[in-house]
């Protein structure tokens, strides 16, 4: 071994990024050894698309009246909703699952006993969504257009990508908040209340994955206004559906800010979500680790 001491003493941003990269590589290897399992979600996408295609058949082709600002293609409307859900699935779900796993298998101790930042294992997870979630979005668009008659407007692709990035970041923030509850409030079970309430309860019911928010009673529409999902669905549907209306307000917040266009309101709301959730998540996560260091609950074994 070389006798010369390396010049780098504390980890620089570059070496931190290298660790993030390694976590990404590991996610990829894990994904690769489970590669046959990818067949399952392809089936899943096909089935869900087919299901809504059939429901869409009852609506028929002339659904402009039904969808209002979101154009006239019900299957497009549904697929954008599902696509956003697929896009953010890893970010929402995996931080908690991963923290739970490193707790149960005892690796958290070892991660802390290294020069690596405490956030690195979480940030490395973003790589998982690249290999796990983005292809799903691709497949749902592919199946939708080739098999089920979905049509997309291609005029606003850059804006759509910006909105996709915003909802990814915001959902990652929610994911970290969810992960930090593991240590902060000792939620050691498989189900974690924060993500459960935000995603499975509020977002699933009121953000409008399968129906526009306007079908809901007004109090629920106000609840929807608090969720970043609502704005992502709204903006992406307006930007990508053929014949969509970019001007007419639809959400509670649109009506509250009449001087801005709905798309602008959506963008501001999502950006605010990112700014709120990411710092809050990082802070809570650190607080959780410190709490666990005092109570001796960093890992299962004592």
């Amino acid at each position: 071994m070389k006798g010369k001491a390396p010049a780098v003493t504390s980890k620089t941003v570059l070496t931190q990024l290298a660790s993030v990269w390694t976590f990404g590589i590991r996610e990829f290897r894990m994904w690769r050894s489970y590669r046959m399992n990818q067949l399952m979600w392809i089936c899943d996408i096909l089935m869900s698309s087919f299901l809504f295609f059939m429901i869409g058949r009852m609506v028929g082709d002339q659904s402009a009246e039904l969808l209002g600002v979101y154009g006239a293609n019900y299957i497009t409307f549904i697929l954008i909703g599902m696509g956003v859900n697929y896009l953010i699935a890893t970010n929402l779900h995996d931080p908690f699952a991963r923290i739970s796993r490193v707790y149960w298998d005892g690796t958290m101790d070892l991660y802390l006993l290294s020069p690596m930042s405490i956030y690195t294992p979480l940030v490395g997870l973003m790589a998982r969504s690249v290999i796990d979630d983005y292809p799903r979005v691709f497949f749902i668009v592919l199946f939708g257009t080739t098999l089920f008659g979905a049509r997309f407007a291609l005029g606003h692709i850059p804006e759509a990508i910006l909105f996709a990035a915003l909802i990814l970041i915001a959902s990652f923030g929610i994911g970290i908040i969810s992960a930090s509850t593991f240590y902060l409030f000792d939620f050691k079970r498989a189900n974690e209340p924060v993500r459960f309430f935000i995603q499975e309860v509020m977002a699933a019911l009121v953000a409008g994955t399968y129906y526009p928010v306007t079908v809901l009673p007004y109090p629920l529409q106000i609840v929807a206004a608090l969720l970043p999902h609502t704005y992502a669905y709204d903006a992406l549907r307006r930007l990508l559906s053929p014949g969509a209306d970019l001007r007419t307000p639809n959400l509670v917040l649109h009506s509250a800010l009449p001087t801005l266009t709905p798309i602008q309101v959506d963008g501001l709301a999502l950006a605010a979500g990112c700014l709120a959730f990411i710092p809050l998540g990082l802070w809570l996560y650190k607080a959780g680790i410190e709490r666990a260091r005092r109570s001796g609950t960093l890992t299962r074994w004592q």
């Binding site: 399992n37 059939m54 009852m58 019911l205 129906y211």
Partner: protein, 286 residues
Amino acid sequence: MTRHAGAAAGFGALLRGIGSFVWLEYKALLYYPASFFMTVLQSVINMGIWFFLSLFISGYADRYVASFGGSYVAYVVLGVAFHEVARTALKSPFLSIQTAFWEKRLETYRIFPQGFWAYVLGRFLWQLLFALVVQTVVLALIAGLAGLNFHPEANVGLALLTYLLFILSAFGLGLLGASTFFFLEVKRGVEPVGWIVDYAVRLTSGLYYPVTIIPAFIRPLSRAFPHTYAFRAMRLLLLQGAAWQTVAADVITLAVYAAVAIAIGFYLLRWSLARAEAGNGVSAVV
């Protein structure tokens, strides 16, 4: 004579065993009341999504369900509630075996003469009661808030019988699926029988939309699953107020289905368990 006494004693032991496992599940629920609350909430939300979705398109869809009372919302809500219970019955045996296997409890249960079957049946009984209560509450909630157009002269007794036969058929399929845990070595994830039934049922049995709008070449598939007969019979009875003659064929089909599925499922699960013990055993570590 002693043989009979032995069988009776064995049956008594099995019943006590089932009771013990119901007690175990009850304690588990008390231990984590939060997870009970979350399960209930999840059911409410799932129903809520389908309620709002059906409400959203009811203007277009009502005419497709004219023969089932003419309300698409009632059609979907009823279907979802019944399906959730059947789904519990379908998944219960496999999930029970899988959970116990990885927690190394399965082998422990094999130590006791009737332990394995008491576990599978006891847990099924508990989960079934749980799902029934939850779905009934959810249904009552929707009926109370939004109103469901139940037919005033519905033959509730026959509907309940249909429901029971439906659950038993699903449980039979569940036993069949559970047997793949051992002979196909499906130790992780989901098992093929339940998975295929779940997918096919959602797509073809008329759960979310009437069978009549499915493309003709897929329609025969729907006849392979008990759900199609059960959904049709129960909706006709409760929403349309149909006479028993209308649904007799469906109910009889369901009864036969339940008997055959449970017999085959039980036999296959027993066979695969014996095969596992002749091979690598039923514990997680070899």
